[in-house]
Amino acid sequence: MVLLQQVISGLSIGSVYALVALGYTMVYGIVQLINFAHGDIIMVGSYAVFFAINQLGAPFWLAILASMLFCAAIGVLMEKVAYKPLRNPPSRRALAFAAGLIAFMLLLMFVISIAIALMAALCVCVAALFLTKRIGWSPKGGAPRISALITAIGVSLFLQNIFMLAFSPDPKPFPSVMEGTLKYGGRYSISYGALATMAISVGLMAALSIFISRTKMGRAMRAVSEDAGAAVLMGVNVNSTISATFAIGSALAAVGGALYSASYPQIDPFMGSQFGLKAFIAAVLGGIGVVPGAMLGGFAMGVAESLTKAVDSRWSDAVVFLILIIVLLFKPSGVLGKNTKEKV
């Protein structure tokens, strides 16, 4: 019976892993990028829910909806600002803008007055535009693969640090939103929180499956992940499809974050990295780029972790990585993944 109890709690946390893993796998399927910042979107979502409940007094469901919208916006912004310039070379104007922005932020730290910093930043902006024109420099496109990965790490680090500066690194207690337990079979019980987590996650996954298989946007996503070049020729707007993927993935991560924080009632700016890593491993386990694989991987991961926790909680993280290594050794494409032949 203890085993059953552990399996149920594993399925509950596993459904959250699955939600987050979906975001990883969708983004990877469409742009072949491990979005390291996806884990931190969980953290952003949790903070959004925290603020909606504590400051605005919103009910939990409304807070989750708001946080989904907020995270979707952050996800799209992240894609547009950081990842898109890697695919399509940025203009000189973008460079000048970035230089101005950095100058502005650096100056804000030293100079008290915003007006002076703004003026100086404008000067930097103009100077950058002028200089690049003068020497005839423009950014080149076609950044190597490793650049995208480093950018993703940069975005993740940025989110963590901006939240740390804004809300201090100390953990904050998350309001208890789902209380009470359901008793069954005499001595055993299951919390309503775990039940609700599973119900919400499974519902969202079903909705996502229908979205991907039935709607026009879903078909566009499948087309782009199959062959982006051919999709463009068929009239698919690749950029907006990628944005939609980031938006949906981030919204799911927001729900995942809210549900996770509700059952482990504490949030801090670094909560996303460990959790995100496990969710990523879940995605690899199921087959990265395969949507049903992420769901399966998430549940398997949750159960495996919950069972090892029952034996010795100190080594549960190590077991998770052991799973990753075993998968990579024996079936690198994941349980549901297809083996693809590489073409020159």
């Binding site: 600002v81 970035a98 730290m109 950014p139 680090l157 640090n161 491993i281 990579l328 050794l329």
Partner: protein, 322 residues
């Protein structure tokens, strides 16, 4: 052939003399008290960082893979050498040499164990698997008895400025000699195009594994120096953020430039020490730097350019002749 050998010897001699001069200047300023103990510690720390950055550049810049657990390899080396020098009592020089050998071998073995599953595959699995390794190794250190939990004290201080300086120099020399050798060209060709390299008959898996494990071994040696200099080890000094900081040093200097790595490791170690007001914003600034550099100059500030003293002298001579 004779000409090339002569050229190599000349450039080696010039660099060696330059290093010796640099060493003499540092030593003189420590002895005369121009630079006090605090600065001596800072410079030793900078040298260790140079060693770490150059070794990481071997994987990130020259091989084109992204490991995120370099601090983990450093931790393996540091604890291996710390435990060895504390338990086996030998004369300092012998002990340090053995500790360096043991710790780099341990890190090398860890590199192979991690590289085999990750590097056989195409794609970014190395990043994830090394990230996991870095976290696990810290977990293991915290939970094992032999590593002393939250802090491991009482390591004899065998490494001083002299040994750190020359070992760093040797490490940088070995890596740059490797890069300009035939094996180095094989590694570079994998970065440029893995399929083409394979078609040319290069054993890509072997060279990927070789470069990655070698960089892990160098990180282990750097860890050994760190342990023998600091005398106290805590798992908290080998976190993910540490690995990221090394990556930033590589990226900023230039992926594929040893000169760039040395310069950026020196600047990014010394600058925060003088700008302590900005300590709070350091990681934030780094993260923005990473994104901006990747968008506008993906190969890093110096790209793959190298500075060569011999070339500079030749240029100056030519100018004089004109």
């Amino acid at each position: 052939m004779e000409e090339i050998r002569k050229k190599h010897f000349r450039s080696f001699a010039i660099n060696f003399l330059l290093l010796a001069a640099l060493y003499a200047i540092f030593l003189a300023s420590f002895k005369s008290g121009i630079l006090n103990n605090y600065y001596q510690g800072l410079i030793c720390y900078m040298l260790i960082n140079i060693m770490l950055t150059v070794s990481l550049n071997l994987t990130t810049g020259f091989l084109g893979q992204l490991p995120l657990g370099h601090a983990g390899f450093m931790a393996v080396g540091a604890y291996a050498s710390g435990i060895f020098t504390k338990t086996v009592l030998l004369p300092p020089a012998v002990s340090l040499a053995l500790a360096l050998a043991i710790s780099s071998l341990m890190a090398f073995a860890c590199g192979i164990a991690i590289g085999v599953p990750a590097l056989r595959l195409k794609g970014d699995y190395l990043a994830i698997i090394t990230l996991g390794f870095g976290e696990i190794i810290r977990n293991v250190i915290l939970n094992l008895k032999i590593t002393g939990g939250t802090s491991y004290r009482g390591i004899p201080q065998h490494a001083g400025f002299t040994s750190i300086f020359w070992i760093t120099a040797a490490c940088v020399y070995i890596i740059s000699a490797l890069i300009s050798s035939r094996h180095g060209r094989a590694i570079l060709s994998i970065r440029e195009d893995e399929i083409a390299a394979e078609a040319c008959g290069i054993n890509t898996t072997f060279y990927k594994l070789f470069a990655f494990s070698l960089s892990a071994a160098a990180a282990g040696a750097a860890g050994a120096l760190y342990a023998s200099y600091q005398t106290v080890l805590t798992p908290a000094s080998f976190t993910y953020n540490q690995s990221i900081e090394m990556t930033i040093m590589v990226v900023l200097g230039g992926m594929g430039s040893i000169t760039g790595s040395i310069a950026s490791a020196a600047v990014l170690t010394l600058l925060p020490a003088f700008l302590s007001d900005l300590a709070k914003y350091r990681m934030l600034i780094y993260s923005i730097l990473l994104i901006v550099i990747m968008i506008f100059k993906p190969a890093g500030l110096l790209g793959s350019r190298e500075f060569s003293m011999r070339r500079l002298i030749a240029k100056l001579r030519r100018r004089e002749a004109n």
